[in-house]
């Protein structure tokens, strides 16, 4: 049975204690991530409150279809990751690495669509990159696009980290460098991070795309 659990590391006396500590650590890290994006959401709400009409007008120019497609993609990937955790606990190597790899691919698809969306917005003069040609109808719209750009690119950065982590785990588990179910806690940590990145998008999507 001891094969099932990760190697006991230095300060711990039981593996159960070690597992609980690992999970608590992840949850605290996620709490700090939530506070990070919380600051950003506060900014969005204040700006929205200051310029209600302009924000609604700007939000109408968003590519809702792409946003919605991306939401579906992330939800699916989250489901896959959840399955992976279940399978990891049961010690099934193949389904776990498969699900994680698929989720990473979906994450990459999200980024691809996002890049396409940025490109279209750039063409339409909506993307406030330095040096880009833009024609905003109002300062409020400009502000909205600024916030949109910073919020979605910060999210994309988190997603990229998530993709790297998921791919790494998929490979480690596939090549049996991490053995299951001993590595289940580690898989769960990565999965929890992915869920967080997903949840942040679930909040960003309505606030930015559906604010009409």
């Amino acid at each position: 049975m001891t094969e099932d659990l990760p190697r006991l590391k230095e300060p711990y006396s039981t593996r159960g204690q070690q597992r609980e500590a690992d999970m608590l650590g992840v949850y605290l890290f996620l709490a700090s991530e939530i506070m990070l994006f919380g600051g950003l959401f506060a900014v969005i709400f204040v700006a929205h409150y200051l310029h209600p009409e302009e924000f609604i007008a700007a939000s109408k120019k968003m590519h809702v279809a792409i946003g919605a497609a991306n939401t579906m993609i992330l939800l699916t990937s989250s489901a896959l990751v959840a399955i992976a955790v279940k399978a990891a606990r049961a010690g099934q190597t193949r389904p776990v690495s498969l699900c994680l790899a698929l989720a990473a691919v979906l994450g990459a698809a999200f980024l691809g669509l996002k890049a396409y969306e940025y490109w279209s917005e750039y063409q339409e003069g909506l993307l406030p990159l330095p040096g880009a040609r833009t024609d905003f109808t109002s300062p409020g719209e400009h502000l909205f696009m600024n916030i949109y750009l910073i919020a979605t690119s910060l999210h994309a950065l988190h997603l990229t980290i998530g993709i790297v982590v998921l791919s790494l785990f998929a490979w480690l588990i596939h090549s049996r460098r991490v053995k299951l179910p001993a590595g289940a806690t580690a898989t769960e940590t990565a999965a929890t991070y992915w869920h967080l990145v997903d949840i942040i998008w679930i909040f960003l999507f309505p606030v930015l795309y559906l604010a009409r």
Partner: protein
């Protein structure tokens, strides 16, 4: 007597064994060295500021140079000394020992935090070399986002990086305190030092990310013209102040809560009595941490925020005084009829209590809307926060250093020198900062280096005091350094104090405890027999 395992200091002598260590005690020593270094750099900047203020014309520095000097002073002192000092040095060293654990929950993460701290520090030094910044440590927009010609983005990066180190340390402490307490150590048996670090860590984990995002926004605003704080683009400069103080008010409790924890330990050990009202002292740390999140608006009374917001923030600020007051009353009650030892740690604790009370009461005055409008952005505010941060936190830091030094390095230092230092710091401190209350009340604004000639006497007094203070801060280098090579060895428990850290040899072995202890009694079960090696 059985043979003790070699101490953590003897567990390896190569540079490598220090730079790649995961032992919380060695990491604490690494922090001790680096934090001391930044204290000296920040102190040098302060000396420059005080020297410039000797004359009303401010002939030593240019306007620009003066702005850069006080900004670097503030940035370095706040983020590279006050916030990391007690948690990262003493929290790191003591929390595992105090709760009967072999190490922190994530030893490698702990080492990583130190490297991140050093990286942030490196950025700061680069900024120093390339010319500095002129925004003040508060980075108010639109100065920082549009007009400043200093290296705002680099400094923001430095503070952003060091923030990561804070978050990781806080996370490590919380998990350690939850999961690694020795059998029998319930929450009601935890030393008050650990309680205060628990409260501090909650703030570290939840408030620091808000600072991080604010810094990201400032940098983006400067680099890409983001416009979130720029009214001409529809942004709102007040929003910056809200975000900044949402972190920075709790940050003052990051600085002072660990100090409060230190003082509880010192007072109990000096009085050789149980702490009066243990659970109130423990609970008040948590109360301070929670209320501290809701008072940021008292920095913005004159910013143009709504009058109702100001009234609410004023009321909530007054509420913080209650848990702070509880602590002071309970220390006093603990000392009452105590069998007091006039040792250096006790003198530092007394100095802390005196200065903390002055700082706290003037904080109450500032929390009153009407008074704040009069003294806002004057030297009154400068004096207030220096009483709390420098008087309070640094007294506690030195108290901790003098109390736990024998434990950390296994050597006793000459007590008389410790007593002289404590007294000189107290005197020098008051001479430096008391005149500033008067200056502020008379209308001397902060952050100006050219001032009306009638303020000169008070400024000269203050500069004289700071010279004495600086000298007193340097004294411990001499006798503590000397103790390392030439003093007699300290026993396991030279002060006759309670707590698991005093049950292990001085200095402790690499793995802290040969066998994890089981706790059976309440904390502060005084009196304890002391082994006389002082």
């Amino acid at each position: 007597m059985t043979e003790n395992p070699p101490s953590y200091l003897d567990a390896g002598h190569t540079i490598r064994s220090w730079l790649l260590t995961t032992d919380h005690k060695r990491i604490a020593v690494l922090y001790l060295i680096s934090v001391t270094f930044f204290f000296l750099v920040g102190g040098a900047a302060a000396g420059l500021v005080r020297a410039d203020l000797l004359t009303p014309e401010g002939d030593l520095l240019t306007n620009e140079g003066y702005n850069r000097a006080f900004t670097l002073h503030g940035v370095i002192m706040v983020w590279f000394f006050l916030i990391p000092s007690i948690p990262n040095v003493f929290g790191n060293f003591l929390i595992p020992l105090m709760i009967g654990a072999r190490d922190l929950a994530f030893p490698r993460l702990n080492l990583l935090s130190w490297y991140i701290y050093m990286l942030g520090g490196l950025f700061t030094l680069i900024v120093l070399l390339v010319g500095g910044v002129d925004t003040g440590w508060t980075f108010y927009t639109p100065l920082s986002s549009m007009f400043s010609n200093g290296h705002v983005v680099l400094v923001a990066a430095a503070v952003f990086i060091v923030g990561f180190s804070s978050i990781l340390t806080g996370l490590n402490f919380i998990v350690t305190i939850h999961k690694l307490r020795a059998p029998g150590m319930g929450w009601g048996r935890m030393p008050l030092f650990v309680w205060s670090h628990y409260a501090t860590s909650i703030i570290l984990v939840l408030a620091t990310p808000v600072l991080s995002i604010t810094l990201v926004l400032i940098a983006a605003e400067r680099l890409f013209g983001l416009g979130i704080f720029d009214p001409s683009l529809g942004g709102d400069p007040l929003l910056f102040q809200h975000l900044f103080w949402f972190y920075s008010h709790p940050a003052v409790y990051i600085m002072v809560l660990p100090a409060l924890g230190v003082i509880s330990e010192l007072v109990a050990a000096a009085a050789r009595k149980p702490v009066f009202g243990y659970s109130f002292v423990a609970g008040s740390s948590i109360a301070i941490a929670i209320i501290g999140f809701f008072v940021w608006g008292h920095h913005m009374f004159v910013s143009g925020q709504s009058m109702y917001a100001s009234a609410v923030f004023s009321f909530l600020s007054l509420a913080v005084a209650v848990p702070s007051g509880i602590k002071v009353y309970n220390w006093t009650a603990t000392l009452y009829k105590g069998n007091i030892l006039l040792d250096p740690p006790f003198l530092f604790a007394m100095s802390f209590i005196g200065l903390f009370v002055v700082g706290g009461l003037t904080g109450l005055a500032l929390a009153m809307l009407s008074i704040d409008v009069h003294v806002h952005d004057t030297y009154f505010v400068v004096a207030h926060f220096h009483y709390i941060m420098v008087g309070g936190t640094i007294s506690a830091y030195f108290g901790a250093l003098h109390f736990w030094w024998p434990k950390m390095f296994g050597r006793m230092y000459p007590l008389t020198w410790g007593r002289i230092t404590a007294a000189t710091i107290f005197f020098g401190f008051n001479l430096t900062f008391f005149p500033q209350f008067i200056l502020g009340f008379l209308g001397m604004p902060r952050r100006y280096h050219v001032y009306a000639p009638e303020f000169q006497t008070l400024h000269v007094l203050s500069s004289a005091g700071s010279t004495l203070l600086g000298f007193a801060y340097l004294l411990p280098f001499v006798y503590l350094g000397y103790s390392l090579v030439a003093s007699k060895r300290a026993s396991a428990n030279p002060w006759g104090a309670t707590g698991l850290e005093w049950t292990v040899p001085s200095p402790p072995p690499k793995h802290n405890f040969v066998e994890i202890p089981t706790v059976t009694g309440r904390p502060y079960d005084y009196p304890v027999d002391k082994e006389d090696s002082r």
